[in-house]
Amino acid sequence: MDRWTDRLSEYLDDGLNEHDRARLEEHLAACAECRGVMEGLRAVIRQAGALQDRPPANDLWPRIRERIEAGADVVPIEAARPPRGKGRLAFTFPQAAAAGIALMLFGATTAWFALRDAASPAVVADAQPAAQAPAQFSFTGQLLAPEVQQRLTELEAALDAARERLDPATVAVIVKNLTLVETAVREAEEALARDPANQYLREHLVQTLRTKVGVLERVTDLARAET
């Protein structure tokens, strides 16, 4: 039954393709239990959509006004506001090049560099996730536990958006260190390719990849903090 019920949410959200939808509907016609589950899910969605918004029990405005009016002796800086429509400051690639980061052609971080120049916006769609790395780096896919592999892919996909929000100095430091980690990963993979039965190399590669996950998570957390 799980095989069918697992797809019910997608079905209710119109997320199934024609073929899968048809098969599921066929199954639903014959299976009362699944129909029951579906009705239950529908009820949940309905209830969620009907929730009322309630203002806070205490009026929060006085406290908010207090905070924003701190420094009331200062005239609002209308004249100093940047004019509307001006683009935000873009992180320019020449800064990273000046920091001496070598261009390499593997890993999501450096693929991003290869595709981006100072004038054009980040080409997020073209960044290669680690899962599609060239064949000689297939150890990464083999050795990482699926959930860690997935986390790595997710984080790399979010990397560009995250970096847009950070100040250039922090980005440079993080990029420099990510590159170091990826160099270490590459060295471990090359060594493992020559000596596949080597347990130390296998585990070292995994641990280095986990260090990479850790740094990427740090970036994502920082970016989230910089609204």
Binding site: V173, L180, A184
Partner: protein, 290 residues
């Protein structure tokens, strides 16, 4: 609004930090024996010290467009800078708290130091060193800065990225990890230690407990572990391009362990001790000798 202030405002909006006349806040208020101090500071140094009073003293210097906001809720005291626009910059703190209070600091830029607060310390920052002395548990993370811990009775978790980590005189487990920089652990008495770096060395002196678990891992640096003569441990060393030096006799077991590793015993065996350096030299020294 004076012309000066208006110009300063323009500069601020353009992103330059023009110091307006500095203001000082100095306030003391009584608190209970236990509690948590939370400081959220975007930019500026923070120094917190433990003292014997039942009160908290907050001294801060800041530009006039920034103000210190102190809120209290149950036994949590929270300090935050408020600016008329944008994040509060240039706010420097010196805070005295009752010994035993927990301290939690969220910062972005600025040097952070705690001294003899005696309780737990949690610090998260980006561009700043973290120097902590006299704590219970500590959880510290930074990106650009160095982490230094001295004198702790509790677990230490230190995460850096671009600089090294130094931990000394600790009774409690230690996890120390960075990417660039040396991890140096001195006089550590722990059941578990995990130290790792990519581009830096690892140094350890401390007690090896019979039931302990100790792991040292670097990619491009040396790993040096100093062990007292009576230690009982199952040691695993592994390197790819480096070498191993040992003050202790190393008798390899018949099956030579797993591929890529050397395993041997110290004393009766017991503790799990793992020392790895991909490219560097692994040194196992007798403590007290150099």
């Amino acid at each position: 609004m004076t012309r000066f202030a208006a110009l300063a405002m323009l500069s601020l909006a353009a992103g330059m930090a023009v110091p307006l006349s500095a203001q000082r806040t100095d306030t003391t208020f009584s608190v209970g024996r236990t509690g948590t101090l939370r400081v959220d500071n975007h930019q500026g140094g923070i120094r917190v010290r433990g003292w014997d009073q039942s009160s908290i003293r907050v001294r801060a210097s800041h530009p006039s467009r920034v103000r210190v906001d102190i809120t209290r809720s149950n036994d949590i005291v929270r300090l935050e800078g408020e600016a008329t626009r944008g994040p509060a910059r240039g706010l420097e703190y010196e805070i005295d708290v009752p010994r035993g209070w927990a301290v939690r600091i969220d910062s972005h830029t600025g040097h952070i130091e705690t001294e003899n607060t005696g309780g737990d310390v949690i610090v998260s920052t980006v561009n700043g060193d973290i120097i902590v002395a006299g704590v219970a548990d500590a959880r510290l993370e930074t990106v650009q800065g160095e982490i230094v811990v001295n004198d702790a009775r509790g677990g230490i978790r230190a995460s850096g990225v671009n600089r090294g980590i130094r931990v000394a005189n600790v009774v409690g487990d230690v996890i120390a990890e960075t990417v660039t920089g040396t991890v140096a652990l001195e006089n550590v008495d722990a059941a578990r230690v995990s130290a790792s770096t990519i581009n830096g060395s690892i140094q350890f002196t401390g007690r090896i407990r019979d039931d302990g678990d100790y792991s040292f891992d670097t990619h491009n640096g040396d790993a040096t572990v100093a062990i007292a003569a009576g230690a009982n441990a199952n040691v695993t060393v592994a390197t790819h391009g480096g070498s191993v030096e040992s003050d202790f006799p190393v008798q390899l077991r018949g099956d030579a362990g797993r591929m890529g590793e050397l395993q041997f015993e110290l004393g009766r065996g017991g503790a799990r001790l793992r020392i790895e350096s991909f490219n560097g030299v692994i040194r196992i020294l007798r403590a007290g000798q150099r």
